[in-house]
């Protein structure tokens, strides 16, 4: 193990819904510069875990630390303000608004001076410029017109806009929920490249996915969730997809050691 400090860590998270236990002493760490995949069967509690990291669920017990300091999120907004961005499976975009409007939805840029302060005027020029920069940074050059409505974009392009928005505003890390689930081969490829680009810019990513080939391609470490807790963290270079599935489903004993964070990350 290195003595690298995790960006975020969680210890002993418990969440019960009535008599159903969704999380049972779950642990979690994400380290700087890595892509951490979270996999698990349906009902294993991985979405409850991830939701408690991004503030959508408040755990009953346990501690969550951000940069070593304990935090208690009670809403997704607090997590967002703390620098944690989530790309939801349904993308959370407004189809009838433009790309630029969507990227800055909820955190618009005001025009300088009295126009912005008193008349709340938007600085559309700055918003368009920054939105374009973000998209170009991530290699999404196919989008020509930043004022284009999101409903005119393809599924992959929409995913690109959602990822670009998250990457533009995240200070700590990005959570991506099934980013390739609804996409074709070509578009999935583009999103996977996008994930690598975001990591290359130093932003850690928590990737939730059921797609084993995708997970094994981009993840630095794989967190396997089973029966409401972390069963193992494995190194995708040392274990195969069938090993991961076996641990996930209980067919194989999980390894005792957790995979340490890769020092190569930074």
């Amino acid at each position: 193990m290195t003595d690298m400090q995790p960006v975020m860590s969680a210890r002993g998270l418990v969440k019960r819904y009535g008599r159903v236990t969704a999380m049972d002493q779950a642990d979690f760490e994400i380290y700087p510069g890595e892509v951490l995949a979270v996999i698990g069967d349906n009902g294993a509690g991985k979405s409850t875990l991830v939701k408690s990291l991004c503030g959508a669920v408040v755990p009953d017990h346990g501690v969550i630390e951000l940069d070593g300091k304990p935090i208690h999120f009670t809403s997704p907004m607090q997590a967002r303000d703390a620098g944690i961005e989530t790309v939801y499976q349904n993308l959370a975009l407004s189809p009838a608004l433009s790309i630029a409007d969507n990227m800055f939805l909820g955190r618009e840029i005001y025009a300088p001076g009295i126009l912005g302060r008193v008349f709340k005027k938007l600085d559309k020029k700055a918003m368009h410029k920054q939105a374009r920069e973000r998209l170009v940074e991530l290699g999404l050059l196919t989008i020509q017109n930043i004022g284009q409505l999101v409903e005119t974009l393809s599924g992959g392009q929409r995913q690109g806009v959602a990822v670009a928005r998250a990457a533009a505003f995240a200070k700590k890390f990005v959570i991506m929920d099934e980013p390739t689930a609804a996409l074709g081969v070509k578009e999935s490829r583009r999103v996977l490249d996008l994930i690598k680009d975001v990591r290359a810019r130093g932003l850690p990513i928590v990737l939730i996915s059921h797609n084993m080939p995708h997970v094994f391609e981009v993840a630095d470490r794989i967190h396997i969730h089973r029966l409401g807790r972390r069963a193992a963290v494995i190194d995708p270079e040392k274990y195969s997809m069938s090993d991961a599935v076996a641990i996930m489903t209980g067919a194989m004993e999980p390894p005792a050691e957790l995979c340490p964070p890769k020092v190569t990350a930074h």
Binding site: N90, L97, G106, L122, P236, S240
Partner: protein
């Protein structure tokens, strides 16, 4: 256990490098006139009502005597003053995928309160008018609270409050009108928006000028301020808006309250327009405002539409009424024509939206 094939692109993806890179293109010959029109209208939803307005003006100009006069044109604008202001309020609500059946009731309740306070109870007009506007905002706020806090459908909420506000209006007015002479004597400022002035040989009222100014103002608010963008986002997809960090309840509440205040403003203007405060007037204001919004191309499903469409929609209604009137057509056919227009407008909206689904 390490296998090189599990890292990096999959075997079947290798062909992607050779795959076509250009964006999908389709034969232009396939684009017949109808499809091009469809595309144009989808990009410019306000174009439909503008075309309808121009055609109807030309049509009535050709068949009705005295239609094409400056006097008649300004008369039409005066006649749609109240519908226009209520239409602005209704547009805000419909953009959030809601509907407000209580706009006319709020308007009359506010007008009755302003009149009662200023004329019958001797309250200074400078206090009575803001109080009336405040009551309007509170009525709208009550609608908004019921919609956001209790999660009731806007149609049902405002159907209920329509009756409640109308009952309150009758209670406070006692069913009695406030006469024009009494207003002139006690509180002439109530009739401020009935004042008229000459411009380019035509007569305008300050009320219709106010109505016309509200449209660019709300165009700015809806398109150039974060609040305006949030109104569209909430109406388009409320879950997406919430996840994007918009406080959706607060936006909805503010929309309903602002709509209520606008209805009260319409109430003040209506005193000038009618000359008296009559609790039974503008009974049709509700449906006329919705008609203007719908004909103006704003989608009842929320998130799509423009405020200027509502102005055009209101003018279309005014032109039809005036044109059919001057042509000597029976009132029943005016109703018939407006009804047909509504259905046509919604049908066109559905057709335009097909491309996006």
């Amino acid at each position: 256990m390490t296998s090189e094939t599990t890292r990096g692109p999959q075997e079947f993806e290798k062909v992607l490098a050779d795959s076509a890179t250009e964006v999908a293109q389709f034969e232009l010959e396939d684009n017949n006139l109808l499809r091009r029109l469809h595309h144009f209208l989808h990009a410019n939803p306000t174009a439909v009502p503008v075309i309808v307005l121009i055609i109807s003006i030309l049509m009535f100009g050709a068949i009705a005597n005295n239609f094409f006069t400056a006097f008649n044109m300004t008369l039409i604008i005066q006649q749609v003053t109240i519908i226009g202001i209520l239409g602005v309020a209704q547009t805000l609500i419909i953009l959030t995928a809601g509907i407000d059946l209580s706009v006319a009731a709020v308007m009359m309740l506010s007008a009755v309160l302003m009149g009662n306070l200023a004329v019958n109870m001797g309250v200074p007009t400078v206090l009575a008018i803001p109080f009336g506007v405040l009551v309007g905002a509170a009525c709208g706020g009550a609608n908004g609270l019921l919609v956001t806090r209790f999660r009731l459908p806007p149609f049902i909420v405002t159907l209920g409050t329509w009756k409640i506000f109308f009952a309150l209006n009758l209670y406070f007015s006692g069913g009695q009108s406030i006469r024009s002479q009494d207003i002139d004597q006690a509180a002439p400022a109530l009739k401020l928006f009935g004042d008229s002035f000459q411009l380019l040989g035509a007569q305008f009222t300050t009320g219709s000028l106010l109505m016309l100014l509200l449209f660019p103002l709300f165009y700015y608010i809806l398109n150039w301020t974060p609040w305006g963008r949030h109104v569209y986002a909430v109406g388009d997809d409320i879950d997406a808006a919430r996840l994007s960090g918009i406080r959706t309840r607060r936006v909805l509440l503010s929309v309903y309250a602002l709509a209520g205040a606008l209805c009260a403003l319409a109430g003040w203007v209506s005193i000038g327009r009618v000359g008296s405060v009559s609790p039974q007037s503008f009974f049709e204001g509700n449906l006329d405002a919705i008609t203007a919004v719908v004909i103006g191309g704003t989608s009842l499903f929320g998130g799509r539409g423009s405020i200027f469409g509502t102005l055009v929609g209101a003018l279309i209604v005014g032109v039809f009424r005036s044109g059919l009137n001057l042509s000597g057509v029976d009132v029943l056919w005016q109703q018939f024509a407006v009804g047909a227009l509504i259905i046509l407008a919604v049908a066109i909206d559905q057709w335009i939206r097909k491309v996006s689904s």
